[in-house]
Amino acid sequence: MIQLIRIDDRLVHGQVMAVWVRALNIDHLLVADDESANDAFARQVMQLAMPKGMTLVVQTVADARLTLAAAARDPHRWLALVRNVASAVRLHNAFPFDALNVGGAGMMPGRRLIWRSIALSQEETAALRALRAQGVDVYLQMLPSDPQKRDW
């Protein structure tokens, strides 16, 4: 079962590992990110950051399709991370999902602060709107205890 699909440019980090994983009782983590999948050092440190009992899969967005398709049917509890909106859109084209959590998008040139520490460019906002038009429930939320923001 896929518990959460999240955009977070920090990928594996504190909010995910210390809070979400425990709140949702996650035991399988999928990082769908081309850059990490092609970087042995990044894969190694992410693997080392995993607690005992957690299975980590790092794949390119294209490869993640099969993993998610299998994850949707298996009894494990999956959390999938993508780095940015573009990856999320590609993932949705390969594997349609119905909810998307936007949890981490740091300020960068070309981006505007949307809500708290979530910053998006105009193209990214438009892409998320397009996803929403396709029926995906897109919400901004950093932690489970934070409100889910849908009017962005």
């Binding site: 990044a42 950051a49 520490s117």
Partner: protein, 526 residues
């Protein structure tokens, strides 16, 4: 409440957030157990302040703050206003503690708008840092992160807490007009019920596979021995070991890392101190710790960059969004400092630096937040709370100084040791230090041990009538005492079970407990 006392309370709230305590404020003065005592000291009732602070802290035992968020409210504001309320409100002395806890936890929610305000205003400061970077002015980048940022923090925190203190003082006499059942209900909820929720939430976030066994062992040992004093003695030993172990680790670890280091010349310590103190000084939504990182590296950038253009680029690069676990993050400060020096000498590229930073900050936080905030801190805190509640039981008129002093000594030395050794290790081994640390079986076992100890201490805390008591009130003694212990255990376990269902809104459970307290009072339970 005189203006002077209100200002003192404002100062305590600033101290809870200040960067001038070497990065340790978040682990010491920010915790209700410490700031409740300080407020008590300021208002002339240190024992009462410490007791309310400790009780509020039980609710925040499993609390984590990650990436500019607050879980269930601002613990510091809760401790400070709770201690103030319990001393200033005109309620019968027997109920002042519980009522103080409730008022504090409610007012702690005001921490959300305050944090939002701070992270927004700091954004303006960061844009001034951007402007300084644009001119290649490294000193201004460091300076803006220190003085103006701390002045702003003071201007936000101190008046807010002082105003709340004045308000509580002004409303104090009116508290006597509240219906007796309501006052008694809130008192029951604050002392005896909400502690069970705090323990349940901590169980939720700290327990691993065998957690429940350690928890029941702690409960049984404390229950059978009839008080917390036996476990408190063990706890004193644990905290003394943590303190001594941390100090030894600083000395021995430093010597060993310097011996094995790859470079004969060590990095200066300036970036370490600047990071350790001011990592969160200008904490903004836009960049989070990016300002702290740039401020820490700016002096080194000024030294190693040959041209103005080079310096501008380096400063702008380090001002980018950054977010990691602070203490493990010290490792990244030294790794990136070395890389900047390499790059200035033409042996590394800007892209490599950015990539290293973004890859490692996530992994270090993903590993570090569960380790520091999810294992080490709850371990030291719950161990110290056992000592405190044992002391309160022995003498409620004294502020439980043994527990307080040992808590500050143990957590201060432990956290400082982590930051210091991480900086030294990053200096000695570069990015291999990260793989060594994350792959280290000692660290992983240490975290497991810390979680086991926490579970044991949480079990022991359930037996303290101050923390959990069902039915509420003083322990009945005799065989009835076992009934009370059993009911308290069941309440805690039930809340633990519920917390899995209502994970996103722990405050709902707490409000439910308030309602239970009032219902009990209406039905004359005590």
């Amino acid at each position: 409440m005189s203006l002077f006392h209100a200002l003192l309370i404002g100062l305590i709230y600033y101290l809870a957030n200040t960067s001038f305590l070497c990065g340790l404020a978040y682990f010491t003065t920010w915790r209700p157990v410490v700031n409740g005592f300080l407020v008590g000291l300021a208002l002339g009732e240190p024992a009462q302040g410490a007791l309310v602070g400790a009780l509020i802290n039980v609710l925040y035992l499993g609390y984590l703050s990650v990436g500019g968020t607050l879980g269930i409210g601002d613990a510091a504001l809760a401790g400070i206003t709770g201690a103030t309320a319990s001393i200033m409100l005109a309620v019968p002395p027997a109920m002042a503690t519980g009522v103080g806890v409730v008022v504090g936890v409610l007012l702690g929610n005001l921490g959300f708008p305050l944090l939002t305000l701070r992270l927004k205003l700091d954004g303006r400061l960061v844009r001034r840092m951007d402007a300084a970077a644009e001119q290649g002015n490294a000193r201004a980048v460091t300076w803006l992160n220190i003085a103006p940022a701390q002045a702003l923090l003071f201007a936000i925190t101190a008046p807010a807490a002082a105003a709340l203190a004045l308000m509580i003082g002004a409303l104090g006499p009116l508290a006597g007009l509240l219906p007796d059942a309501l006052t008694r209900g809130l008192s029951i909820a604050g002392m005896g019920l909400s502690g069970a929720l705090g323990i349940a939430l901590a169980m939720r976030f700290v327990f691993q596979r065998w957690g429940i066994a350690f928890f029941l062992a702690g409960f049984a040992l404390a229950g059978v021995s009839g008080s917390l004093s036996l476990i408190a003695d063990i706890s004193v030993a644990v905290l003394l070991c943590v303190t001594a172990g941390s100090l030894i680790a600083i000395l021995a670890g430093t010597a060993r890392l310097r011996r094995d280091a790859r470079h004969s010349r060590r990095l200066p310590l300036t970036p370490f101190w600047l990071w350790q103190c001011f990592s969160h000084s200008a904490y903004s939504f836009e960049r989070l710790q990016g300002s702290g990182f740039a401020g820490a590296l700016a002096p080194l950038i000024e030294r190693v960059c040959a041209t103005l253009e080079d310096r501008k680029d380096a400063l702008k690069r380090q001002l980018a969004f950054f977010n990691t676990e602070v203490n493990l993050g010290a490792m990244l400060v030294s790794i990136v400092a070395r890389m900047e020096a390499e790059r200035a000498a033409g042996r590394a590229t800007a892209t490599e630096i950015e990539k290293t930073k973004s890859t490692l900050m996530g992994a270090l936080a993903g590993f570090g937040d569960p380790l520091i905030q999810g294992a080490l801190l709850p371990c030291v805190l719950s161990t110290a709370l056992v000592i405190l509640f044992s002391e309160f039981a022995a003498n409620p008129r004294e502020p439980a100084l043994t527990g307080l002093v040992l808590y500050v000594a143990a957590i201060g030395s432990l956290i400082f040791a982590v930051g210091w050794l991480c900086y030294q290790a990053g200096d000695a081994f570069g990015r291999d230090a990260v793989t060594q640390l994350l792959g280290s079986p000692i660290v992983v076992r240490g975290a497991e041990a810390a979680r086991g100890i926490t579970a044991f201490m949480l079990g022991a805390l359930v037996t303290s009538p101050w923390v959990v008591s069902l039915p509420p009130g003083p322990p009945p003694g005799g065989p009835l005492e076992f009934v009370r212990l059993g009911a308290s255990l069941l309440l805690t376990l039930a809340l633990w079970g519920l917390s899995w269902r209502i994970y996103s809104r722990p405050m709902l459970l707490w409000i439910g407990l308030l309602a239970c307290g009032v219902l009990m009072a209406l039905n004359g339970v005590i």
